[in-house]
Every structure is written in structure tokens, then in C-alpha cells.
Amino acid sequence: MTTMNVNTEVRSGETDNTQDVPGSRAPLVLNMDKFNQVTQQVCQVAEARRTPMAWYITFAIGLGLLSLLGFCIVYLIVTGVGVWGLNNPVMWAYDITNFVFWVGIGHAGTLISAILFLFRQKWRTGINRFAEAMTIFAVMCAGIFPGIHVGRVWVVYWLFPLPNQMEMWPQFRSPLLWDVFAVGTYFTVSLLFWFTGLVPDLATMRDRAKGKIQQIAYGAFALGWRGSNRHWHRYERAYLLLAALSTPLVLSVHSVVSFDFATSQLPGWHTTIFPPYFVAGAIFSGFAMVVTLAIPAREMFGLKNLITLRHLDNMNKVILLTGCMVGYAYAMEFFIAWYSGAIYEKFAFINRAFGQYWWAYFLMVSCNVITPQLFWFKAIRTSIPIMFALSLLVNVGMWFERFVIIVTSLANDFLPSSWDVFSPTWVDIGTFFGSFGLFLTMFMLFCRFLPMIAIAEVKAVMPEADPHFGDDHQGDDSDHGHADAKEAHA
């Protein structure tokens, strides 16, 4: 009996490996039993002479939106932040909403690469590379917004503790400054983690490269990796350390982002549930984005046997879990607003649901609370078109969550005389959609030129990678495991 064909059946072009069969592990790599097949399949995407038409179209859309972003930013800088729809009480709106949205997206990549690694979830190897890439590009998008919302962009270096002509330092008791350190560290560590994982795969690409340019480019970044086991030993140790460091880091980053709000005294912001609630929301939105990206990518580059239906099924389960946590947080916020007896807090929440931004609130609840509940049904978890649509809805909902938190709380605070309504200008909207252009452009370049699946890691989780593969586990004297046991006896 082989594990390969026990629990797989082909259904509407997809191989279904989501069944759990007692006593056997579901295969993570389908229809492949040779290491070379994995190398071949992943590398051919980057090595292909012809780029798929779909890639060019997506890349062109990305570049178009990227130039919109560039235009909006230049226009903002030369004109001033007045081109945004901000007004006196609502001094944060699209800028910080986008910042929190993008940082949140990034969290799923780190969860997959670090936390699932510590939990020995082997299915992560199929998706961790591009999920980490997504993290890096999302944090790049996020970093833009605090940078440009300061108004005078040319003094943005005041964010950092640098000696300057005013002999002034940043104020380290401010959560906004904690954010600078949290997001800066997060970006750096994510990049290191991603690159560490890439090095062996870049060496694979280097050794296969035919052209001089490819050899030099992949060769330079592969750092001369030659697969030495003495190197692998330190490499695996370092990888474990990076995972162990990234795990508390990723939890801290969105906690610190939530401190931007939670440490203020504004009704609707001043709540202790924010850090865990933000982290759950971040993972929720990030996994939705991974699903959104994985579905077209596996289709476009023919990676269905590496990013299998089981991977998508697992991710949808994570979306369901974190979606429940987000729903619980929404309910608990409301409960505490009532239970606290604080009239401003109570008003803030009733105003959120039934005030001038009621439509944003109901969009948020329907996308974030109701949508993920559909994933209780296996038929939905394993249906590609439905999960794609639902993942998009979750992305929309999570953007509106941040919008609701930020804008409704600011627009109607303690004094009715200082209330106002925020409505975005075309620059607000253009910058937001433009940030997707940056994300898309980077992601398409990554897909085209780098191994988008962790080749070495996938090989290592194949059953063939086990030194005992093919052993009958009985009475083989030359087997080193038994030799060890004998030594222990002696």
C-alpha cells in the first residue's frame, strides 16, 4: 500500500488530497517521486524563455497602478497634505487605514514561515516562499503611508534617533515611535528570513543556468552555496533561530500598531482588546491575501501539484479560525462598551453601527464575520472559485475594519461641536489603489525571476527524503538506526 494513491482522486481538474486516511500521511507533493521533478517544475517558471501572456497583462496593470501611486505621491508632496480629504477631527483616514491594512497582510507570511515552522506543519513548505515575499512587498507598501502622511516628507528622518541641528530626539514614550522600530525590525527580519531561505534555491538556479547573465546574477546572490552538510547544519540552526525570533516579533508588530490607537483616550480606540484583536485580524487578512495570490499563481505557472488543494483547504481553515476570533472581538467590543457604562464609549459603538458610516460597518461585519463562516463546509473550502471570491471579500472587509476603527472614532468624539465627516478625494483613492500597483509589480517580478516555491524545503518533506524511505522497518542489520540501538545496549 502506498500513501500516494490512497487518498487522492481527481475532481474537476483538481487532485483532491484533502481526505484524511488513518495511518497514512496525506501527500504534500502530488504525482512526483523524484527530487529532480521538483527542481524542474519550480525552476522552469523562472527559466522559461517565453513568459505567459497573463503575466504581461498582470504586470502591465501593476505598472499602471504603480505610476498612479508615483503621481499621487509627487502631487501630494509638491502640494501638501491638503490634497487628501482630511479635516480637523479626522486627521488620520486613508493613510493610516492603508498602513494598518498592508502591515496586517504581511503577518500571514511570517505566520506561515515562522509559527507553522515551529509547529512542524510541513505543508507550509509549499507556500512559505511566496507568502514571505508577499510579507516583504506588503510591508514596503505599508511603509510608504506613514512616510508620506507626515506632510513635510523631507524631514522624515526625524523619525529616527539621529543627531540633528536642533539637538532634539524622538520621543520614545510615543507608540508612534515604537511603530517605527517595530515595522523597521519587522521588515529587516522578514527580508533576512526570506533571503536565508532563498540561498540554497538560488544555488540550484545558478547550477542550472545556461546564460552568462543568469549565472552571474543567481551566482552572486547564492553566495557560493554548495550544499555542504557542515553548512546545512548551521543553516538549519539559524533558520530555527530566525523562526523563533520572528514568532514573538510578528505578534509584537501588530500589537504595537494597535497601541497607536489603544494608548490614546479616544472612545472606540481606548480598549485593551486591541492587541490580540489586531493580531488575529492581521493573520485573517493575510491568509486571505495568500489564497488570493496562490490561486492565480498555481494556475498561471502550473504548480497545482506543489500548492495542492490540501494547502488551500488548510489555509481556509486558518481563515475560519481567525475569522471567528475577529467576530468574537467585534462582539466583545460592543459588550464592553455597554458593560463599562461609559457613555462616550457606548455612543462610539452605536454610532459605528448606525451612524453616518453605518454602510462601512455593515460591509465590515458581513465580509469578516459572515464570509468566513462559510468555510465550515468542506465543499466550499475545496472549491477554487468560491474560495477565491471569499478571500477577496475578506480583503475588502479587513480594509473597511481599519477604516471603521480609525475614521468613525475620530469623526465623532466627545464634543458634538467638533464633529465632522470625512470623505476621500481622488488623491486618497488613487494612492490606495496605487499601492496595489507597487505590490503587484513586485510580486510579478518575483514570480518571474525567483523560485516561488522553496525547492530545497519541499524536497526535504517528500517521503523519498527520509533516509529510511523504502526500509521495511524490520531486522535490517545494516540500518544505522538499529546500529545505534545496539550501541546503546552494549
Binding site: 539637538e167 517595530a182 547550477d207 557560493g224 557542515r230 548551521r234 527524503a465 544505522h480
Partner: protein
């Protein structure tokens, strides 16, 4: 022309880097590695496309000290963040840090200058940052990377070490290395091929 006047190094037979033996499966290299380890070679290595579980033990590799150094680097990050924040926000000292810099005791809503709880997030972040940077930098440094040239890269067979083949490399500088004897030994391990690599 010059060849006739003074014999250059290129004339002499190239120095040998060592011998490589190619294997097809993790199980084979595991058994072979145990035998190389037990035969007393010191300058030898296994090159594999992915980390083979248990090969460290089969080769007798000692545990790296990387985690211990990383711990102290992390502590250095905590300390740096504490000093940075208490100096810039809670002192009026003037010190030399590349240029002369002076701290500024910020009075924010009557909070104490030395507000340790408020300094903790940045202390945490710099702990992680220092630890991660040193993990990354020291792992490659201990491995002797980046090393863009290596004699093994000249061998055509060895290109599959990053794809699907498993290699044992015994270097010529090993005191037990004698070309004929080592080759015979490697061949006794039942490899696909044994080849000499030039330096």
C-alpha cells in the same frame, strides 16, 4: 614561447582538490557518511540538495555555538535600546558618539523621565533585530560564505548537488588522503561515480 623558457604552473599537472563520490539517495549517503566518519578522515564533507535528517550525526558534526552567540547579541540589543532611550529622553549628558550629542530630558504629561515601561517595546524590537542580524551574518560567516569560487564548481557532475544527487567530498589535504587508496575506499561505498576534482 614563454612556456619553453620558464615552466609555469600551468605546465605541471594541476593540484588535486580531492575526490568526490556521487550517490543517488539519502539512505546511501547516510551509510557512506558513517563509514567515512569511522575511517578517520577529517577534511571531508557531504553535499546534498537539502538537509538530510540524521546526516549530522552520521558525519559526527559538533553542535554549532551559533545560538549562544545570538543570545548575547540579543542581550546587547536590549541594552543598546535601554541606553539609547534613557540617554536621549531622560538625561542631559553630552557624550561623544561619532559627533558630540546631548540628551534631552523630555517632560511629557508629567511622566517620569526614566519611564521604563514605555521603553520596553523598543527594547524588545532591538533585541530581535540584533539577534536576527547576528543569526544571519554569523551563520554565513561561520560557513565561510560568501565564497563565490570553489573548486567543486568546476566539476560538471557536482552541479547536481543542488538538484537531486548526494556527494561525499574527501579533500586532498586530509592526512589520510592517498589518491589511489582513497579512491578505492570511496568506490567500496557503492557510489554511482567517483571523480577527482582539480584545485
Amino acid at each position: 614561447m614563454s612556456e619553453t623558457t620558464k615552466p609555469s604552473k600551468a605546465d605541471s599537472t594541476p593540484r588535486s582538490y580531492g575526490l568526490i563520490a556521487e550517490f543517488e539517495t539519502p539512505a546511501q549517503i547516510m551509510k557512506a557518511a558513517e563509514r567515512v566518519r569511522d575511517s578517520g578522515y577529517k577534511w571531508w564533507d557531504c553535499c546534498t540538495p537539502f538537509p538530510v535528517h540524521g546526516l549530522d550525526k552520521a558525519m559526527g558534526i559538533r553542535q554549532t555555538i551559533l545560538p549562544i552567540i545570538v543570545f548575547f547579541m540579543g542581550m546587547a540589543g536590549t541594552f543598546t535600546a535601554f541606553v539609547l532611550q534613557s540617554f536621549t529622553n531622560a538625561s542631559d549628558w553630552t557624550v561623544w558618539a561619532g559627533v558630540w550629542v546631548t540628551g534631552y530630558p523630555f517632560l511629557i504629561s508629567g511622566k517620569p523621565f526614566m519611564s521604563l515601561p514605555a521603553f520596553i517595546p523598543v527594547m524588545f524590537e532591538l533585541t530581535i533585530l540584533f539577534a536576527a542580524l547576528s543569526t544571519f551574518g554569523l551563520m554565513f560567516a561561520f560557513n565561510g560564505l560568501p565564497q563565490l569560487y570553489h573548486p567543486l564548481f568546476r566539476n560538471k557532475r557536482f552541479r547536481r548537488a543542488t538538484d537531486d544527487r548526494f556527494f561525499i567530498v574527501i579533500e586532498a589535504r586530509d592526512p589520510h588522503y592517498f589518491k589511489a587508496r582513497t579512491r578505492a575506499f570511496l568506490e567500496s561505498l557503492d557510489p554511482i561515480a567517483v571523480e577527482e576534482v582539480e584545485d
